[in-house]
């Protein structure tokens, strides 16, 4: 039936991501947000939630899969993705970083370099429980400057945490400029590989591909996996893409109108 096909389409990850981006722009009119980094991570967050079978009803299940947003300043994207997935209580969020107790938030973050260690602890607990639940940690690329990330990377590989997946939002920009100018990360995939991780480089805006990659059975299963997800800061609003000045701001009414008009409703489909 046509109606069913339409429901299926609106439920597709790419369509959900497009609605989350629109919601994000609407939020940015009434409060300052980390817009560029939020726009870049929307597709990743949609894909992880989809791959993990997230539903609001399951969000309190002790045996749920876990997502830790380690790049906490992108919380605005998380709010919008969760709201589009039906999580109540997120229409008018105020906190600029994830807070414990917020629906759908697994851990308060914002001080960078904490999430992968927390994720490793969640993964250790799953293994001790004999559960097959998985843990995903979404990291910023600038965040990889923090030494604690590499403590956790070494630990997760040593402990053979095959139930842990890290996704790096590789948008190549941090606050003051290109990552390669501030503190070079490349060769990034080789770094993770040398730490003992299974590495996949993926298009971080191709929701379908991300979901496939996250749900594909991993072999060998005793290595943690990292997806280096290539993204564009500001993704979805062409005039914001790759522009550092859209890192953190509140949109004027006019900027909002222009952004909504420019918003590609199906950003991943053509790629």
């Amino acid at each position: 039936m046509f109606a069913n096909a339409s429901d299926e389409l609106s439920d597709a990850p790419a369509a959900l991501a497009a609605r989350a981006r629109r919601r994000l722009l609407d939020l940015a009119v009434s409060r300052p947000v980390h817009l560029g980094a939020s726009l870049s991570v929307v597709d990743i967050l949609v894909a992880v939630h989809r791959a993990f079978g997230f539903t609001p009803a399951r969000s309190a299940d002790p045996d749920r899969h876990r997502l830790v947003l380690s790049k906490g300043h992108s919380v605005w994207a998380l709010y919008c993705v969760l709201a589009e997935l039906g999580m109540p209580g997120l229409d008018d969020p105020r906190a600029g970083h994830p807070l414990d107790g917020t629906p759908g938030v697994e851990a308060a973050t914002g001080a960078l370099g904490h999430g992968l260690s927390i994720g490793a602890g969640l993964a250790e607990a799953a293994r001790l429980d004999g559960s097959d639940r998985r843990t995903a940690v979404v990291l910023g690329d600038g965040e990889l400057n923090e030494g604690s990330v590499w403590e956790a990377a070494m630990f997760a590989a040593h402990r053979r945490l095959g139930n842990l997946v890290a996704v790096v939002d590789r948008n190549t920009l941090q606050q003051e400029g290109p990552t390669e100018q501030v503190l070079a990360l490349e060769p990034l995939a080789a770094k993770w590989e040398s730490f003992g991780w299974r590495v996949a480089e993926v298009d971080g805006h191709d929701c379908g591909l991300l979901v496939d990659t996250l749900t594909r059975p991993s072999a060998p299963t005793d290595r943690p996996t990292v997806l280096v997800a290539h993204t564009v800061k500001g993704r979805g609003v062409p005039y914001m893409e790759g522009e550092p000045r859209f890192h953190h701001l509140q949109l004027t009414e006019r900027q909002h109108r222009e952004a909504v008009a420019a918003l590609d409703p199906r950003p991943a489909v053509a790629r």
């Binding site: 002790p62 414990d100 697994e106 851990a107 308060a108 914002g110 001080a111 370099g113 904490h114 992968l116 260690s117 927390i118 994720g119 490793a120 602890g121 969640l122 993964a123 250790e124 607990a125 799953a126 001790l128 429980d129 843990t135 030494g147 604690s148 403590e151 956790a152 070494m154 630990f155 040593h158 402990r159």
Partner: protein, 320 residues
């Protein structure tokens, strides 16, 4: 009769006793997990009997505490045991944000608090550990004196469903308490005050007891309130005991600005008048010395406490 030999102070390390407490706790609670950072002296029994529930993260304190947070967020009680200076300073942000702010059930055991690592030098001193943890809401803070109240403090910390810190000695500490001592969270009055009171914690307790012995020879009765629990601080009890006394001394192996010196002063300010005599680490980095030399440097000795009290009470000091 062998009474004289029994009067010689005994010394014992806290670690084996704490290892036994943790082993028993792990036996009783199948969810409990113990984490260490390339040092398992506290976890010997857990490691032997429950090897899956002891995790060594290597020399990486920030990750140590982050992993503890993840385990605790999954509903497991967690014990983190490592060297206090590195726990407090390297993992400060993880302790605050990832464990104490959400009020998770993690017990931190800091080996070598204060200046007890002595000649290992200033990198290994942490006279700010109790103040750091006391500044974190939801968190209980313990500073035992010897092997007896160390075991009690760890049991109490494990029983508290939120975050807790227990400062443990680096090496051997003088045994002050009989094995069957019953402890109270608001302190133990080990000597009744006459003219003055000493509020003491950790190694400050034997120092205060010795000072009381010295002062007895001068006809001065120094009360000794031993505090194995630093937070919550028993302000009301300190005020009650100080009432009518001419002097209050504080004895602690900690910065005076954030330790029980500050808590005692805050309990008394505006409500009590008399001589206030802190014997604590002041606002300076310690010189090179073993623990006893460092305590002497900061005036944390029975002789210094007794001399200051005699002077403040207008008695001629013959204590030295």
């Amino acid at each position: 009769m062998t009474a004289p030999a029994a009067r010689r102070p005994a010394y014992a390390p806290m670690r084996p006793a704490v290892a036994q407490v943790l082993g028993e706790a792990a036996d009783a609670d199948p969810a409990l997990v113990v984490l260490g950072a390339d040092g398992y002296g506290l976890a010997t029994q857990v490691r032997d009997r429950h090897p899956r529930r002891y995790i060594d993260v290597g020399i990486a304190e920030a990750n140590l505490v982050g992993v503890a947070s993840g385990l605790a967020r999954s509903g497991r009680p967690v014990v983190v045991g490592t060297m206090a200076p590195f726990l407090v300073r390297r993992a400060a942000e993880q302790i605050r944000n990832d464990v104490c702010n959400p009020g998770l059930n993690v017990t931190f055991l800091g080996v070598g608090g204060g200046v007890s690592y002595g000649t290992l030098g200033p990198t290994h001193h942490v006279p700010e550990d109790l103040g750091f943890f006391s500044g974190l809401p939801n968190t209980r803070v313990f500073c035992p004196t010897d092997v007896v109240d160390a075991a009690w403090a760890v049991r109490e910390a494990l029983a508290w469903p939120g975050p807790a810190y227990v400062r443990l000695g680096a090496r051997e500490d003088r045994v002050v308490h009989p094995a069957d001592r019953e402890f109270r969270a608001d302190g133990l009055l080990l000597a009744e005050p006459g003219e003055a009171l000493a509020v003491a914690t950790g190694v400050g307790v034997p120092v205060a007891l010795d000072a009381a012995g010295l002062l007895a020879g001068h006809g001065v009765r120094l009360g000794v309130l031993a505090l194995p629990v630093v937070k919550p601080f028993p302000a009301e009890r300190v005020r009650e005991l100080a009432t009518g006394l001419r002097a209050v001394a504080v004895v602690e192996e900690h910065l005076d600005s954030t330790g029980i010196t500050q808590h005692t002063a805050r309990a008394l300010v505006g409500r009590w008048q008399g001589a206030f005599l802190p014997h604590a680490v002041d606002d300076s980095y310690p010189p090179l010395g073993d623990r006893a030399e460092l305590l002497d440097h900061f005036g944390i000795t029975a002789e210094a406490v007794a001399a200051c009290l005699l002077a403040s009470l207008g008695r001629r000091s013959e204590a030295r």
